[in-house]
């Protein structure tokens, strides 16, 4: 029971997430979408993400991961951390794939950066302003984290961290037991690794 489940819904790159968890010796197991029977033996979940909103949601729906996550997140109230696209999947819908429903754990829509004056995707290191609580416990305020995305969550009542790229957007969110980061903590050096440490503590995982 004492571990975090990392959701593998197909093509995402899990190696760097695994490396980050191993760095802090946080116990985890990969939950493969094709395995079918998922056990409920986890204290919390990480939902990584690359690729597009629509194709990710299709795999999640086809593989019954959606029912599994609904049970664990909405009924058993276990914590989940969505990373990059993984965070966007937690919302109702996205401009990237109109008509495709997201997991719907957090109310709201994901939108695209305006092409007018910005380079897209928003790629590189950018400041994250936060209040040092929860996920950001002990993390330097306004520290640079690595981003790589074209869509974002607008200002949201549940934002716990903000960044600016042309406009101010939500770089991290918490809605009850549901957490998300738009940046890549697994690619943001020492301060990024603290996010995993804090999430493991939130889940109640015991580790070295």
């Amino acid at each position: 029971m004492n571990k975090i489940g990392v959701i593998n819904y197909g093509l995402s790159n899990l190696t760097s997430i695994s490396n980050a968890l191993e760095f802090h010796q946080i116990p985890y197991k990969i939950i493969n979408h094709y395995d079918g029977n998922f056990d409920n033996d986890y204290l919390g979940f990480i939902l990584p993400g690359v690729g597009s909103f629509g194709s990710a949601m299709q795999i999640i729906k086809q593989s019954s991961l959606q029912e599994y996550l609904n049970l664990n997140i909405n009924i058993l109230n276990k914590p989940i951390l969505g990373i990059c696209l993984g965070m966007q999947l937690l919302f109702d819908k996205s401009e990237e794939s109109e008509g495709e429903e997201g997991l719907g754990f957090i109310p709201g829509k994901i939108v695209r950066f305006s092409e007018d004056c910005l380079k897209i995707p928003h790629v590189g290191w950018n400041n994250v302003t936060h209040d040092n609580q929860g996920l950001f416990d002990g993390v330097k305020n306004k520290n640079d984290f690595y981003f790589d995305h074209s869509y974002y969550s607008e200002n949201h009542s549940c934002s716990i961290a903000k960044s600016t790229y042309g406009i101010e957007f939500t770089s991290s969110i918490q809605y009850k037991n549901i957490f998300g980061v738009q940046f890549h903590p697994e690619r943001s050096q020492i301060e990024g690794l603290k996010i995993f440490l804090n999430f493991a503590k939130i889940c109640g995982v015991n580790f070295a």
Partner: protein
């Protein structure tokens, strides 16, 4: 605010990191794992690993080497050299890479690039081109290490955009390895042609070249190669020197040279000894 990125270009030959001198002589530097760990601790923003012989020998980078060398690396990693199918890209991502760099002058018939973009997202694909100016007028993309002229840069960029590339890595053939600065005209022009983030490669020899590039063009990142080696804390020092020139780079998180002043060639100006004793 989004920072200008400093990207290390690491060249591999037979599993060994090398320094390339005009593409025909190679100085051995050492193991990939150790080079990566040093650069990460010296606050590099991103790393591109290029296998020099992969394409020629119709193979990819050694994926075991990549996986084992990158376990403790927590900055974005790009892999290039010999990536010529969807499975090559998939293997790179499964072994620790975040992006693949695909050097191709023929973008029109590369269906696999489209497939990589669809499944792994635009952000995972860097398309790269070797570029040279013709008759002091127009830039062209060349194949085979600059031997064959293929297509105008303008057309190539349109094709790259249509394929859904996330970033473009543009190498100036003339400036490459010369250590006499970037072709700022090229990069000025290219950032007007596209909204895609541009990585400039070819010509970096000292701090002043990077200052020149970032002050006079709108590129998103500078790739450096030869400047990385034979200097302790090379990239940490470079960053502190750039900060002093008001270039918007990410400050160091492990090693700081902020107390020191720099010559324009990047050398540290010794502190006044008297002030040290006071």
């Amino acid at each position: 605010m989004l920072k200008k990125r400093l990207i290390a270009t690491i060249l591999l030959k037979n599993k060994c990191v090398v320094q390339s001198i005009s593409f025909n002589k190679f100085l051995p530097i050492g193991s990939l794992e150790i080079v990566l760990q040093f650069l990460e601790k010296w606050d590099i923003d991103e790393v591109i690993i290029l296998d020099l012989d992969a394409s020629k020998n119709k193979r990819t980078i050694n994926f075991n080497l990549l996986k084992n060398s990158s376990r403790k690396i927590f900055v974005p990693l790009t892999v290039g050299g010999g990536i010529s199918s969807f499975d090559d890209a998939k293997n790179a991502f499964h072994n620790g890479a975040d992006k693949v760099s695909i050097n191709s002058s023929f973008l029109s018939n590369n269906n696999f690039i489209q497939q990589v973009v669809n499944d792994f997202g635009s952000q995972s694909v860097i398309l790269s081109a070797d570029v040279r100016i013709e008759n002091n007028a127009e830039y062209y993309v060349y194949a085979n290490s600059g031997k064959n002229k293929i297509i105008s840069l303008k057309k190539w960029i349109k094709q790259a955009e249509n394929l859904g590339a996330g970033e473009l890595l543009i190498n100036s053939i003339v400036n490459d390895g010369m250590k006499n600065g970037y072709d700022t005209c090229l990069y000025q022009k290219i950032t007007e042609l596209t909204k895609l983030p541009i990585i400039a490669l070819g010509g970096a020899g000292s701090v002043i070249h990077l200052v020149d590039l970032f002050q006079n063009t709108n590129v998103s990142a500078a790739a450096i190669g030869n400047m990385l080696y034979f200097t302790e804390h090379s990239t940490s020092k470079l960053k502190s020197a750039l900060v002093k020139e008001n270039i918007n780079v990410r400050p160091s998180c492990f090693i700081s040279y902020d107390e020191w002043n720099f010559e324009l060639d990047g050398r540290i100006i010794p502190m006044n000894l008297k002030s040290l004793y006071e």
